[in-house]
Amino acid sequence: MNETLTLDAAAPIEAEGKITVLSVRQLMWMRFKRNRLAVIGAVMLTMFYLMALFAGFLAPYDPRTTHAEHPAAPPQLPRIVDQEGNFHWPPFVYATASKVDQKTFRRSYQPIGDTRYPLRFFAAAEPYRLFGLIPTDIHLFHVDEPAKVFLMGTDRNGRDMFSRVVYGAQVSLTVGLLGVTVSLIIGTLLGIVSGFLGGLFDNVTQRFIDILIVFPLIPLWLALATTIPPTWNSVQRFFAISLVLSLVTWGALARQVRGSVLALRETDYVQAARYANAGVWHIITRHLLPNTMSHVLVIATLAIPAMILGETALSFLGLGIQPPMTSWGLLLNEAQQTRVLLQQPWLLLPAVFVIVAIIAFNFIGDGIRDAADPFSK
């Protein structure tokens, strides 16, 4: 075989490029990294999830602790310059006390005295369990009584909003993941089965998904959320809400998976595998799943923000997460009454977290979508 030898001599010329030795996953990662917004989104989300993971450490107070002397306190940022204009480190706060205006019944907070209470970093305070396991009492920062540090103010019961937001992240950021996981399992399973089997099963599934996809999310979520028995405790409710979120969104995933399965089923490499006597299981696990996964990942990433929004909406209406558990939606629930909100606008701060999380997920989803098909360009 003469020319094969010369071919080999020529082959290295084109095989030297860096791109040629990378796997599809590595190529995707390379392209993803180039998308600045996607990287920003990934960094923000990583920080959010770290915040949820280390909630007990970051939060200066237990989210359920009521500071009876400080109801509806506005946010109070630690200062580095005192009233005389002198610079201090570490940052400090003044102790405050509330005063109720006798005419308007509005409550306002004033510093008492000019004693500075510096922030103590890595200080021992209320005990908690890190990751829900390790008992400890070290917090990132704390101040000595009687001063308080309420970065985002308090609610009308005097609970620290910042601590509640940090703990709320645990629920709000996982409910979407849990919901998407359930969606993924239902969607991938049904998508592969109906794409692979075809026939009547596929037909009926598709008609059902047709309705499910076009049906507006919120009314359906509401209808499903009302079916959760009120007697369930907050943990059961958490899982029930995840299930509700996923029951409404698996359709789009199943449709996507089915679409790619139908397309892949006709590809020459699946045909070749079949002609090599490969069984259904082999074809699904070696050919269909790996090649649908990037599309599924895109859909899943883009479904999470919708779910976070769903949880927020349901909890906001009182149909979602129940106390003593807390979530961003539930925190916003207190801001629902306009009159309350007008007097305590800082109750809307959890919304900032919701919005940032949603945008971050959208950034990432967009980045993965652009990177998903490394051979498109």
Binding site: M1, L7, D8, A15, I19, S23, L27, A272, R274, F375
Partner: protein
Amino acid sequence: MSMSPTPESILEIRNLKKHFPITRGLLRKQVGVVKAVDGVFLSVPAGKTVGLVGESGCGKTTTGHCIMGGTPVTSGEIIFHHPQLGAMDLAKANSAQMSKARCAMQMVFQDPNSSLNPRMTIFDIVAEPLVVNQVARGSALRQRVEELLGLVGLRPEFMQRFPHAFSGGQRQRIVVARALALNPRLIIADEPVSALDVSVQAQILNLLQDLQQTLGLAYLFISHDLSVVEHISDSVAVMYVGKLVEFAPTQTIFHFPKHPYTQALLMSVPRPSPTAQPRAVLGGEVPSSVTPPPGCYFHPRCPFAVQQCAEIEPELIEVAPGHFVRCHLAHELKLEGVGSLDLSVSK
């Protein structure tokens, strides 16, 4: 008609038909039928190459998939002479028999980009038939894959790379290596060089010929490129709208065609010679395989058509030993082959 069964033939196809129903609406009411393959006769001798030519949509690829058991056959016989198990009719084979048959015959696809899973390494791709059929594992598997890659002229160092790292020609070599993994006797090559660059096409054609010589392979070489088919085939079958219209040894069919369509095809081929006669132009369009014309499917475009052609469908007849034609006028017509053309190209 009867095609004399040659003892050394590895594949014989008799009156193969594959019809796809066209369904509409929710109730899947059948409103028509696509006669993708509608009467194909073929015989592939062991160790030889049979070319299958025709224009797009004529059913040549579907014929290939019928042989591989990729789609159930409507009627007809596909007799495969398995080296160990003897003759078996693949048109009626159950899945166990089909699995055994597939170990002795494999398919090579047209587009080397889509016939390799982008997420598998070359090793995984070539090893796949060996793994699923539990032929080899561990170091034996590795050795066999290295051997196969060497056979198609690829370096074993590339085994852990992914398909996108290779050029079109190299990918087609990988496809061939996978097809050879189970030691087949017959390869169905569906347009194996059509997607390749002109300068690479010859490499693959030579590779296929070398492999035929060293391994004694038989090829069913499906292509629309008549020059390539003439180069590689021992005999050629011509299809038109699902039907086999002519089947003969290569020299015969190219120099003494008996079917007007074969002649028209030969005359249409562009010749790399500026002094060649202008090519003859066949008028009209290929009819749809859902609503083919009555009688001989070719009669509306045929310059020799008579009344009979529009009414009666011609049968396949053997005009000379090994030369089959589906034409009413097969004995009367004097047709021209490629030899009649001025080909004053200096080599």
